[in-house]
């Protein structure tokens, strides 16, 4: 790095503060009430200022736990999740969470400490080029070079994380800046000439979509998480009802449209339901609102919606036309798009036959499972969880079989009650995310559905349930294996179960006990009924080790390389 400008120490007036105080001041100006973090050498100054401030701080036991908790908090509250980590290993430990938030468009602001400006670039103790490392997985990132820039950069970071397509923004703060004396600076202005997200859609594009809608016979809405980010569930329901349009959700969109609604077809994609996938396949007008045509949703693109004219409404213009050819590109916020669609009064499509056909599919091809093994089937347990929480819980998951079963069998009827790692598919996400979700909604019932594999990646955060009196219910769907890996090995690798079956497991009950948390083991549906009815809605944290049939597989399935119409395992 070239010679630096000498650090300016601003004249200390009667009333002065250091860079760390200025930083805390900037957080307060953004309305931050809760931080998730872990201290260390480079952030000692910030933690010292935090000590003097009223902002709450959740001390995770690993930075990855902190960032996934912040993601859960952001997903449920709609507010940005804020994370602090120290330089070097502290910063690299949040990388997985940053990539996860980038893929699933979650608003996060991550502050990392950095070694002092004078030694940056010398491989100093705990130095890592976190700005370089996180460039491809952040919406924007900064390294603060002058203390007087701090208020502006913090303001810009929050603005970028929460507007347009939400995403993670990282701010790297060299240690010396936090110690510099500085006078109180006036409120900062956001200065981002290259950033102008389009919120309001082009009326001409919306009109041409409405025109196509009138003439369609097999219309279908594909609704993604963009609907949730835009808080547009009511508008989505109103639009679907106004024109009697069936609705399909992506994995991350679940909850945006109530599962019990007669127009709801279910989730589409690799493990989506037959009706939803066939609706996309047979449709003549596909209206995508806030979904990004992910490969797990589309299956083989060559046979995706082959007869459909495609409308795609997205706040991010770079998503439109990326994977699927689009006839009606609409750049805009999902709420604004739906409001404009609602305001144009056209005659609806004549889709009575189409709706009848879909209804028939629904009745004939529901999700299914068998309950024949010695141990209960996981799908049955998830149905029981739904029953004993009235379908009103916030459910967080890890990644794998249990995640798909939760998406299939826990029918979500409310927005922002489904917290899962979709794009990146991060094991170890579900449990810390539940902590963040419970902190965001202290009165809600929060169920953390995890696999025995993923849970062991971040279980160190169990202590937070005790420390913060969080009544999270941890349900381990325990099949003693990495179930999805096992399933693929069984199906596509001739049952060579290479390193997917655990030969040893900890005693999860004793583990919970050592953290001071009540724990139960259930090995049958009857035991589950009994335990779930007793503890799922009380105000205590609890861990339930649910032993399930390890042979169980996730069906139906679109095998890799196949189209949505080529599902296997549609019927028992």
């Amino acid at each position: 790095m070239a010679a630096k400008e000498p650090m300016v120490t601003v004249e200390t007036e009667e009333w002065s503060m250091n860079g760390a105080d200025l930083f805390i001041q900037a957080l307060k100006a953004e309305g931050v009430e809760l931080l998730f973090g872990y201290p260390g050498g480079a952030v000692l100054g910030i933690y010292d200022a935090l000590h003097r401030s009223p902002i709450n701080h959740v001390l995770a036991r690993h930075e990855q736990g902190a960032i996934h908790a912040a993601e859960g908090y952001a997903r449920v509250s709609g507010k940005p999740g804020v994370v602090i980590a120290t330089s070097g290993p502290g910063a690299t430990n949040v990388v997985t969470g940053i990539a996860d938030a980038m893929m699933d468009s979650l608003p996060l602001v991550i502050f990392t400490g950095q070694v002092a400006s004078q030694v940056i670039g010398t491989d100093a103790f705990q130095e890592a080029d976190i700005v370089g490392m996180t460039a491809p997985i952040t919406k924007q990132n900064y390294q603060v070079r002058r203390v007087e820039d701090l208020p502006r950069i913090v303001k810009e970071a929050f603005h970028l994380a929460t507007t347009g397509r939400p995403g993670p923004v990282l701010v790297d703060i060299p240690k010396d800046l936090t110690a510099l004396q500085t006078s109180f600076l006036p409120e900062a202005e956001v200065k981002l000439p290259g950033y102008r997200p389009t919120v309001n859609p082009d009326p001409l594009q919306v009109d041409s979509l409405l025109d196509a809608l009138q003439h369609s016979q097999k219309p279908v809405i594909l609704a993604g998480a963009g609907v949730l980010h835009a808080k547009a569930s009511d508008e989505l329901v109103a639009f679907a009802e106004q024109y009697q349009l069936p609705v399909v959700h992506t994995l991350l969109g679940l909850g945006g449209f109530p599962a019990g609604h007669p127009l709801f077809l279910g989730m589409a994609g690799m493990h989506g339901c037959y009706t939803a996938n066939m609706a996309l396949y047979e449709s003549d007008l596909l209206i995508n609102i806030g979904a990004r045509f992910d490969d797990r949703l589309t299956g083989n693109l060559k046979s995706f919606a082959p007869n459909a004219r495609v409308a795609h409404a997205d706040i991010d213009p770079a998503e439109i036309g990326k994977n699927v050819e689009t006839h009606f590109p609409i750049v805009g916020d999902a709420k604004a798009v739906l409001q404009m669609l609602l305001s144009g009064e056209v005659e609806g499509p004549d889709s009575q036959l189409w709706l009848e056909h879909l209804e028939e599919n629904k009745v004939e091809n529901p999700y299914w499972f068998t309950d024949t093994g010695e141990l209960p089937s996981p799908q049955h347990l998830i149905e029981l969880v739904h029953k004993h929480t009235n379908g009103e819980a916030i459910v967080t998951t890890d990644v794998g079989q249990h995640q798909m079963w939760a998406a299939q069998f826990y029918s979500f009827s409310q927005p922002n009650t489904w917290v899962t790692s979709g794009g990146l598919g991060t094991m170890g996400f579900g449990f810390p995310a539940a902590i963040g979700a419970q902190l965001a909604e202290p009165d809600a019932t929060v169920i953390s559905l995890v696999g025995d594999g993923g849970f062991q990646m971040t279980l160190q955060e169990l202590i937070l349930l005790k420390e913060w009196s969080l009544p999270v219910k941890v349900l381990i769907i325990n099949n003693g294996s990495l179930g999805m890996v096992r399933q693929w090995q069984e199906t596509f690798y001739e049952k060579r179960f290479s390193h997917s079956i655990f030969s040893l497991q900890p005693d999860f009950l004793k583990l919970a006990e050592s953290y001071g948390i009540k724990a139960y083991r259930v090995s049958s549906a009857d035991e589950a009924e009994k335990v779930f009815s007793e503890v799922l809605t009380d105000r205590e944290p609890v861990l339930i080790d649910c032993r399930v049939n390890p042979e169980e597989k996730v069906y139906p399935m679109v095998a890799p390389g196949k189209g949505l119409h080529e599902m296997i395992g549609v019927k028992p």
């Binding site: 700005v131 924007q140 981002l192 290259g194 990326k322």
Partner: protein, 98 residues
């Protein structure tokens, strides 16, 4: 394979070139030529970047241009291949006098 020329006006801050080069790499492009300079003497923070790439798939290439445009510090991006632009090359020669 066709040759494409892209120019972008960027705010030269926050490691924007790391971001952009990473993006070309992520999309598996090999850069044939890259030039960056301050665009206007009175605006030291604004740089103009010109890139020449070999492109196989126009659709994928347009996606890349959209991704570049999405970057916060990118003010403006244009694909100038089919427009009038000035291309300059500099050759350094060494002559042996015997």
């Amino acid at each position: 394979m066709t040759k494409r020329v892209v120019t972008a006006l960027v705010q030269n801050q926050n490691g924007i070139f790391t971001r952009l080069m990473g993006m070309f790499h992520k999309h598996q492009y090999r850069i044939e030529s890259l030039a960056v300079a301050v665009a206007y003497p009175e605006l030291k923070d604004v740089s103009k970047m010109s890139v020449i790439l070999e492109v196989e798939d126009d659709h994928k290439f347009l996606q890349l241009v959209k991704q570049v445009n999405k970057q916060v510090d990118v003010l403006f991006v244009t694909e100038v291949t089919d427009e009038l632009f000035i291309e300059r090359e500099l050759a350094l020669m060494k002559k042996f006098l015997v």
